[in-house]
Symmetry: C2
């Protein structure tokens, strides 16, 4: 799957991922009204609005992009109907041949991590049969519990040729509170990054590992250091656009082969129609605004990469 991700990045010339984080305030009124009319003002109605919104954005962008990253929390908040919309979204993206990175940030003790791994990137047994619960291609993983909390994801990933992205240095303002603490003179995120590189050796693709890392666009200096510490690690970079990261900040997340990083934008793409820059599309044509925002994001990042290499 890391090979498929790399091939698709090369083919689209777009090292980007669209974050499908459908907050209700992003969804145009006409979509919400239609869904509530059909299903009532219920969890099912909200989930239907989420799904229709996602579908329109996927239809308008899938040919330009290699991957999507649905954030499960935005679905989980609507309980079972929300998670059903998550699964529908994952399945639909896979039909469109997109690589799906489930942003689930799971992580627990060994036997529990194994259950999460099985549910999201593996198969679970029911009697003599096997089923896939959610079936993403990659998921994000929290490293706080250490190796025995992470390795079950790698083990299941090896069986399935699927992978993970481990949180190293997150994009949020308070990420430094624990992640930047100095351990023998070095910030904790470097220690975690080295460990991610070591875990990565256990599950390699051709040039890159199936074990990736999450490093926020909002911390370009740290990204530069982590890039060198984890040369074979694909870096998933959130925080572009709405969270403040810019194309020029991102070049150091890439290797000299122009690969090694994939930049996520969520709100900047899916709620583009709410920005002044794309206001001329109007709420009815929100998906066209998203497509234009994808085109612009690719240009911003490709331009920055071209001027570096």
């Amino acid at each position: 799957m890391i090979q498929k991700l790399i091939e698709k990045i090369k083919k689209t010339n777009a090292p980007i991922v669209v974050g499908l984080d459908p907050m209700m305030k992003y969804i145009p009124e006409h979509i919400k009204q239609a869904a509530y009319q059909e299903q009532g003002e219920t969890l099912e109605g909200a989930a239907e609005a989420v799904w229709q919104y996602n579908k329109a954005i996927i239809d308008a962008t899938y040919d330009l992009i290699p991957a999507v990253k649905p954030q499960i929390a935005m679905y989980e908040q609507f309980g079972i109907p929300g998670l059903t919309a998550f699964k529908k979204t994952v399945d639909y993206c896979k039909e469109k041949d997109l690589v799906v990175i489930g942003d689930v940030k799971r992580g627990d003790i060994g036997s529990t991590s194994e259950a999460y791994a099985v549910g999201h990137i593996g198969k679970v047994q029911a009697g003599s049969r096997f089923y896939r619960g959610f079936d993403e291609d990659f998921i994000t993983v929290n490293p706080y519990l250490g190796s025995d909390g992470v390795k079950p994801f790698i083990a299941v990933g090896k069986e399935e040729k699927k992978g993970i992205f481990v949180l190293v240095k997150t994009s949020n303002p308070s990420s430094g509170e624990f992640q930047d603490r100095l351990v023998e003179g070095r910030p904790l995120y470097e220690i975690v990054g080295e460990q991610v590189a070591a875990w990565g050796e256990e599950h390699m693709g051709e040039e890159y590992s199936y074990v990736g890392a999450v490093v926020g666009a909002t911390y370009p200096e740290q990204g530069k250091i982590l890039r060198k510490l984890m040369p074979k690690t694909y870096i998933l970079v959130p925080g572009y656009g709405a969270q403040g990261g810019k194309g020029a900040d991102l070049v150091h997340f890439f290797n000299e082969d122009g690969l090694g990083a994939i930049v996520n934008s969520s709100r900047g793409i899916i709620a583009a129609y709410q920005q002044e820059k794309y206001a001329q599309f109007g709420a009815k044509n929100f998906a066209d605004a998203s497509r234009q925002a994808v085109v612009d994001m690719i240009e911003d990042i490709s331009g920055a990469l071209a001027s570096k290499y």
Copy 2:
């Protein structure tokens, strides 16, 4: 809800929580066969087996215990049908007036943590109406992202009089890999523990905070230190029994009021019938074995506490 938890602990004289982590290998054959016969060897069939197993254990133990802790991963592995069984379990435990601690270990950037908080301990809006997605009383939270990843859980908890338990020092063998790293001469878990105590000041019950901590029974020395660092923090203690912790190891997790800690056992209770000690019950009477294991666990812990105070 922290007051309800404390009242129920005093009333039952049982500072324990039963971990509802229904791994398939724990579920007796007759339960699985009946479920698969009814629903087929499907995710629905597996989820039905999980639910029937849980229900029997809850029915056999609820009058002896203050709280349960369903581990969501064990349900999530079965996809949507599994999560439906999770919700059914939460609802049923609440009908039985048990305090429900959802072991979900969520945690993300601010807006995403808010969605998780809303889905698990709050209310979500659909049009003009509000709904509860999963509706636990407490959930566990991962602190790796720092304050802005944790505070949305506290904010929603304040509105709802619900709470959280933040991972500080986990019970698993490799928990020290990052958690024990020395930061200015002190292990990271102490830094996290101090922060948990500070967060706790923002959402206090009477003597104890709604912001608790998770500290593994397998690390009694660390528990002793953390107990002193976080005097008003309730400590959720996993790792008793199957993971190796014993009653005598646990006394230092408690304050001198005999409160301040609640000890979880999962496999040791729910799969008691598989132990030699309870083999005489037989698989058919697995729930009676669980009840006896609860009685024995209460005696072990109360005995250890009595000999300390």
